[in-house]
């Protein structure tokens, strides 16, 4: 198959997928290869020694959550004993925002791509402020995670099962028309999800206070849907992986130290380069010296033509990350230069309903020198602190060069 034909096949899989949220489960019961002593993380593979502060904090928190350690010291001893296995989410059909830490007994959403038969998983969003995904692991963080497992998860699981499956591509498509970039703004998509779920929530056969708690949890988290959007994109990424000869990127992910990409024609191989520090707006009291390098699996949204690639559709988020509306339009326009098509599902109202730039071609990245732009949250570089701001970040050029060279040598 030549490159043009192979790339068209990838774009077909990106755009023709019928994706539905079909249920929830406990990680060790549903995620392939998961076990009691395994911890999944964001980005390309990394050892404990090389992990950044927020990822280390989140790992400690996960061990406290699991009851495998009673305090930070015990957690560190357990990790250093070599009994804990670390693996990227992406190697287990899974994605997680920021540190992306998922352990055996955490509840996860199950997203299914009915057109191409792939399934993907993601955890539940905890909310803003101090939380595990930003590396915080205080008592309040662990208490909330336990509440999510014992009270929130059973309600959501039952409601989703009662629905018979929720069309998630439709939610993301509509949300883009309502001002979401579907990465750092999920106000519209979370509202649309809640609208779909509401009638099933009232039918859930569980204590009223738990049902109220579930509704309140979603109501208070504008970014609730980011985990679900990521899982939807992951089903498409896996469907489009392994098309011989294709130079389109199927995964972009960061672990706070390395930025990694996968390219369809290169199958499951990672190409990595040092992760950049995002630029943007910091919360009061924090500055660039406090920020960790780029982190999280959420750049799977940009891989599919959302997030930074759809900034022109989300004027509200551009202000939040420290730019003007015109900056958003400029960034989207720039992304057209490194992508292969205009998305037939995601249309940008402010650009006369032009489709979002979709299908990053590594050859176009090399030709133009334009690096993919990602919208992102910023975590504190130290464990236990949490989020310090939000902004944008560029994917490092070097991993695209390595990938292109690998593809040539493979010919």
């Amino acid at each position: 198959m030549n490159r043009e034909t192979a790339n068209q096949e990838v774009l077909k899989r990106f755009q023709d997928s019928d994706i539905r949220l079909i249920g929830m489960g406990i990680a060790k019961d549903v995620i392939p290869g998961m076990h009691d002593k395994m911890i999944l993380h964001a980005g390309p593979p990394i050892t404990w020694e090389r992990m950044c502060g927020p990822m280390k904090g989140a790992v400690i928190g996960a061990l406290l959550y699991e009851g495998l350690a009673q305090n930070e010291q015990e957690a560190l001893l357990l990790i250093e004993s070599g009994q804990i296995t670390f693996d990227p989410n992406h190697e287990h059909q899974t994605v997680g925002p920021m540190a992306g830490i998922i352990s055996a007994n955490m509840p996860v959403f199950i997203m299914k791509n009915f057109t191409f038969g792939t399934t993907a998983y993601s955890n539940i969003n905890e909310g803003p402020g101090k939380c595990l995904r930003f590396g915080a692991y205080g008592e309040a963080v662990i208490t909330r995670l336990h509440w999510m497992r014992d009270h929130l998860y059973p309600v959501l699981k039952q409601a989703i099962e009662l629905s018979g499956g929720i069309d998630f591509k439709s939610i993301l498509t509509q949300a883009l028309q309502m001002g979401d970039d579907n990465h750092n703004r999920h106000k519209a998509s979370t509202s649309l999800f809640m609208r779909e779920l509401a009638k099933y929530l009232v039918m859930v056969d569980l204590p009223k206070e738990d049902i109220y708690g579930a509704a309140e949890h979603i109501e208070k988290i504008d970014m609730f849907n980011v985990n679900l959007a990521m899982a939807a994109c992951k089903t498409m990424a896996d469907a489009a992986s392994g098309i011989e000869g294709s130079t389109i990127v199927t995964v972009m992910a960061r672990n706070g130290v390395d930025f990694g990409i996968k390219v369809s024609g290169a199958g499951n191989k990672w190409f990595t380069a040092p992760a950049n520090i995002p630029e943007g707006l910091y919360f009061p009291g924090y500055s660039e010296t406090d920020a960790a390098a780029d982190i999280g699996d959420s750049s799977i949204t940009e891989t599919y033509g959302l997030g930074g690639f759809a900034l022109a559709a989300a004027p509200a988020i551009v202000q939040f990350i420290g730019g003007s509306y015109q900056d958003g339009v400029n960034i989207t326009n720039e992304m057209f230069e490194i992508t292969t098509t205009e998305n037939k599902n995601f249309k940008i109202p402010t650009m006369n309903f032009r489709g979002t730039p979709t299908g990053i071609d590594i050859v176009k990245v090399l030709k133009t020198g334009i690096q993919p732009t990602i919208t992102t949250g910023m975590a504190h570089k130290d464990p236990g602190v949490g989020q310090v701001g939000a902004g944008i970040v560029k994917a490092p050029f070097a991993c695209f060069v390595d990938a292109a060279e690998y593809m040539l040598n493979k010919k």
Binding site: R3, T247, S324, L366, G369, V401, E405, L408
Partner: protein, 62 residues
């Protein structure tokens, strides 16, 4: 030169990245120009060799 001493002088700023920062500085009467920077790929021999090889393969329909 200390940072404080730097900011007591007349500043001439080159902004690379979000144009909003250029606009904010301009509104405070700071002299600033916007630079649209891209990686100069054609000057990199390794990148040029990769692009030439892909161009040949594309031309041959491989």
């Amino acid at each position: 030169m200390s940072t404080n001493a730097l900011f007591q002088q007349r500043l001439q700023v080159v902004n690379i990245g979000l144009e909003q920062f250029q606009a904010d500085l301009s509104s405070q009467n700071v002299e600033v120009i916007q630079l649209q920077w891209r990686i100069p790929t054609t000057e990199d021999k390794r990148v040029k060799a990769i692009l030439d090889a892909f161009a040949k393969l594309d031309e041959e329909g491989k």
